[in-house]
């Protein structure tokens, strides 16, 4: 009964989406207030219907209703409760429902909190949002219905892919989707603005918080995904330039560019056509990601089960959404040219360069992701693009971006004088140089590029701190006055400082853990030991353990430093009988300076052969997670910032050195 109700709710949501897209668009064109106002009610109803459908699916998972095909294919009665819950979106159909639910959530958000928007703009935004929902609901009902029944029901389910049985699954996809889908609203705002023919600072003020929400969620989602890969896949890495990782990274790069140029529209009314194009592209890249993950176009460890029919359907959706919006852009955007004039060296000029570099970086990732596909289609040659490609393109491209990132916040709008700005950064620059040299000495040399990036990481943190100190007029006025300025600092300002400094911390972690990683592979007998990075690991014994839905071999490794025991590492090798799949559970000892990471490899039944152990020492890995967390906190602070009008008033009250 419950699955049928969920199914009906989906059908109703489809009908509501249809009317929510058609009536308000017509009303906005005719200036009919009632038709426009219909969008608000429809958006709320649609959210409630989809929330109900989603709850129905979760319920089917929680009670292990094996009359539902989706539950049979992805669940098992013995599965721990958390994974029954999270398993509802650990598959193609369920994740699609979550996707559409998020879409409706953002629509409802505009209906509830967008009261200050002009009626026609709000109606058009909600109508475009409903058009996207319409496409995806039709896709779901036609090819991917999560509520299909099966008869006769099997006794038990086929269980969830063991790699996905991880607490990260509960949070990683919802945050990622919150990011992807959040950009749908920015897209809707862009298309609505093109239809309205009006893009002004007010538009930018309305778009900015939604862009920030999407960006913050995407940042958190990507970081969680990297963390999941780090401890679950057992290779000791956190990023593999896999197509599915790339398709989440591209919207992030483009979204970061968007976040910066929206503020130019807000302050100076420049870059309007570019901002609208970027808003369309960010969501197009999100859609492209959805398409790639679900169509089997490219191969990836994360991809869902493949069905060519679904691929054609999503491609048709892509064609309408991206092709349609770009066509509207080609038609209406030429009227948007112009805006405030500025000199090349200025805040605007800096942000233009920022956007250019981020777009090119995003373009290289797109090229690397799609190149194998297009090469295969044209020449029939099969290749795969690995990290070497990105190390030679993306990594060098990010150097000027990171250098600029430290300078940008010091540049005033309209025109800047570099001879006045650069001396203020001299301290930060020389300190960064010192950090780079120190890193090279401490970590025992290394490639020039790695040392450079350690310096750049320090540069981001230090220049952000200098900028903050200047705002507080630290050491120029009494400390107490500086402190009172600290508490009075606008949250938006905090957002920028934290995001920039957090990125610096994360880059230090990324660089150190990729370049100065140590690795040991050794077959050990109980009682034998191996040494890595000053640690001595002794295999005491290996025992068999039984989990709720798996069996495992667990190695006990005693960790000692100079003979003194500091802990125990227990890597496991699990076997999930239902999915007939082995997984490794790495054991990780986390410290600020680096992680000790142990994996139990293939073992043979012959005790004489010993146990294969792979052990890594990964410097500064935790900095990646801390850095991204700081960026997310910055995003949250900026989202919670007061209304722009009041911020503007506060800005006038406190003189700021840079503006």
């Amino acid at each position: 009964m419950i699955p049928e109700l969920g199914h009906y709710a989906l059908v109703l949501a489809l009908l509501v989406a249809l009317s929510q897209s058609v009536l308000p668009l017509y009303g906005a064109a005719r200036g009919a207030g009632r038709l426009m106002a219909f969008a608000d009610h429809a958006a709320l109803v649609q959210f409630l219907l989809l929330a109900f459908a989603f709850a129905a699916l979760v319920q089917s998972y929680l009670v292990s209703d094996f009359t539902v095909v989706n539950v049979v294919q992805n669940s098992h009665s013995m599965k721990p409760l958390l994974y029954k819950f999270a398993g509802a979106w650990g598959n193609h159909e369920g994740s699609l429902l979550l996707w559409v639910l998020m879409l409706a959530l953002f629509g409802a958000g505009v209906a509830l909190f967008g009261r200050n928007l002009p009626a026609s703009l709000r109606a058009r935004v909600l109508a475009v949002q409903a058009l996207i929902a319409l496409g995806f609901l039709a896709f779901m009902l036609a090819t991917s219905n999560p509520f299909l029944r099966i008869f006769p029901p099997p006794l038990d389910g086929r269980d969830l892919n063991p790699l996905l049985q991880d607490p990260g699954l509960a949070f990683h996809p919802p945050l990622l989707y919150l990011g992807y889908v959040g950009f749908s609203l920015v897209f809707s705002f862009a298309v609505a603005a093109l239809l309205e023919g009006k893009i002004d600072p007010a538009w930018a003020r309305w778009v900015r918080p939604w862009t920030l929400i999407a960006w913050t969620a995407l940042t958190a989602g990507i970081a969680l995904g990297a963390r999941w890969a780090y401890y679950e896949l057992g290779w000791g890495g956190w990023w593999f330039w896999d197509p599915v990782e790339n398709v989440s990274f591209m919207p992030w790069l483009a979204g970061t560019a968007l976040l910066h140029c929206v503020s130019v529209v807000e302050k100076r009314e420049a870059f309007r056509a570019w901002t609208v194009l970027l808003a369309i592209l960010v969501f197009s890249l999100s859609l492209l990601g959805t398409f790639i993950v679900r169509s089997g176009l490219l191969t990836s460890v994360h991809a869902f089960a493949v069905d060519p029919e679904r691929g054609v359907f999503i491609l048709a959706l892509l064609f309408i959404a991206i092709g349609g919006s770009l066509a509207i852009f080609a038609w209406r955007a030429p009227a948007l040219a112009g805006g405030g004039a500025f000199m090349p060296v200025s805040r605007e000029g800096g942000l233009l360069l920022n956007n250019l570099l981020l777009s090119v970086a995003c373009g290289t990732v797109l090229f690397g992701t799609l190149y194998p596909l297009f090469l295969e289609l044209i020449t029939g040659e099969v290749v795969s693009v690995g990290p070497q490609f990105y190390n030679k393109t993306f990594v060098p491209l990010s150097i000027p971006l990171l250098v600029l990132l430290g300078i940008g916040p010091f540049l005033p709008w309209k025109r800047a004088d570099l001879s006045k700005v650069l001396p203020r950064l001299l301290g930060a620059a020389s300190a960064s140089l010192a950090v780079a040299i120190l890193a090279a000495i401490l970590l025992g040399g290394g490639p020039v590029m790695a040392v450079l990036f350690m310096g750049l990481a320090a540069w981001l943190v230090l220049s952000s701190l200098v900028e903050l100190a200047e705002r507080l007029r630290l050491f120029k006025i009494p400390l107490r006055d500086s402190l009172s300025r600290l508490t009075g600092l606008p949250r938006r300002q905090w957002g920028m400082t934290l995001a920039h400094a957090g990125l610096g911390i994360a880059i230090a972690g990324m660089t150190a853990s990729s370049v100065w990683k140590e690795e040991q592979i050794k077959t050990l007998q109980p009682g034998e030991s191996l040494e890595i990075a000053g640690y001595e690991l002794t295999l005491t014994d290996v025992e068999r353990v039984t989990g709720p839905n798996y069996q495992a071999e667990q190695a006990n490794l005693r960790v000692t430093v100079e003979g003194e025991e500091i802990g125990l590492l227990r890597p496991e090798r699990r076997f999930y009988p239902v999915q007939r799949m082995p997984t490794t559970e790495a054991a990780i000892r986390i410290t600020v300076l680096g992680d000790l990471y142990a994996v139990l490899g293939d073992t043979s039944a012959d005790p004489r052969a010993g146990y294969l152990l792979r052990v890594y020492f990964e410097p500064l890995v935790i900095w990646i997670w801390v850095g991204t967390l700081i960026m997310v906190v910055g995003g949250v602070l900026a989202i919670s910032a007061r209304q722009p009008q009041r911020v503007a008033a506060a800005r006038r009250a406190s003189p700021q050195p840079a503006e």
Binding site: I280, T299, P308, L326, E376, V382, D606
Partner: protein, 184 residues
């Protein structure tokens, strides 16, 4: 007034997207298999190595001449300690009953008495088994783990490789069509 070049600039994103969309549509061809990473071993002669017989097992060891001659020769790398091999075994027993198929085994990093017990318990699909105690054979065949299975044609060339256990479904839908293709 906008110049034509400027107007073209605004149409450019649409044009680029359309070109990409055509590529995506072609990429959705159901005959395309994006996960087929070409193995350097495919269409190459199988490694010519000899491995001794498993002690206590009444079967010959592996010799290079055994890799040729049969319409299809299947080389399966397995071990008694490998749990997925246990799951795969019934499918090998089915394969062994196919006419024109010869199955050779390579017992990878195993103990002879355990291997004998494994085959006594689950049945023997192999006509010869090489004992690869050091794992040297596995390196020559370029395996990523056990089980792994290679399919050779009459000339002893590797025509297909399957990584991981062959379950009933894979046997029916992926392996059997390949066998017919290789046997010609």
């Amino acid at each position: 007034m906008l110049t034509n070049t400027k107007r073209l600039l605004f149409i450019l994103p649409t044009l680029i997207f359309l070109a990409a969309a055509v590529g995506f549509l072609m990429g959705l061809d159901p005959d395309r298999d994006p996960s087929a990473i070409p193995s350097p071993m495919i269409d190459e002669p199988a490694p010519q190595i000899s491995l001794p017989a498993v002690e206590g097992l009444d079967l010959p060891g592996l010799e290079p001449e055994l890799l040729k001659g049969s319409p299809v020769t299947v080389v399966n790398l397995w071990a008694s300690w490998c749990a997925p091999c246990r799951i795969e075994h019934p499918q090998l027993m089915t394969l062994a009953k196919e006419p024109g198929v010869r199955i050779l085994g390579i017992d990878y990093k195993d103990r002879a008495d355990q291997a004998v017990k494994f085959l006594e318990e689950l049945g023997n699909p192999f006509s010869a088994v090489g004992f690869d105690q050091t794992g040297r054979g596995g390196i020559d065949w370029g395996i990523t783990g056990v089980p792994e299975t290679f399919f050779l044609d009459r000339e002893g060339r590797i025509r297909y490789r399957h990584v991981g256990p062959i379950d009933a479904d894979t046997l029916e839908n992926a392996i059997m069509p390949r066998l017919r293709e290789i046997a010609g």
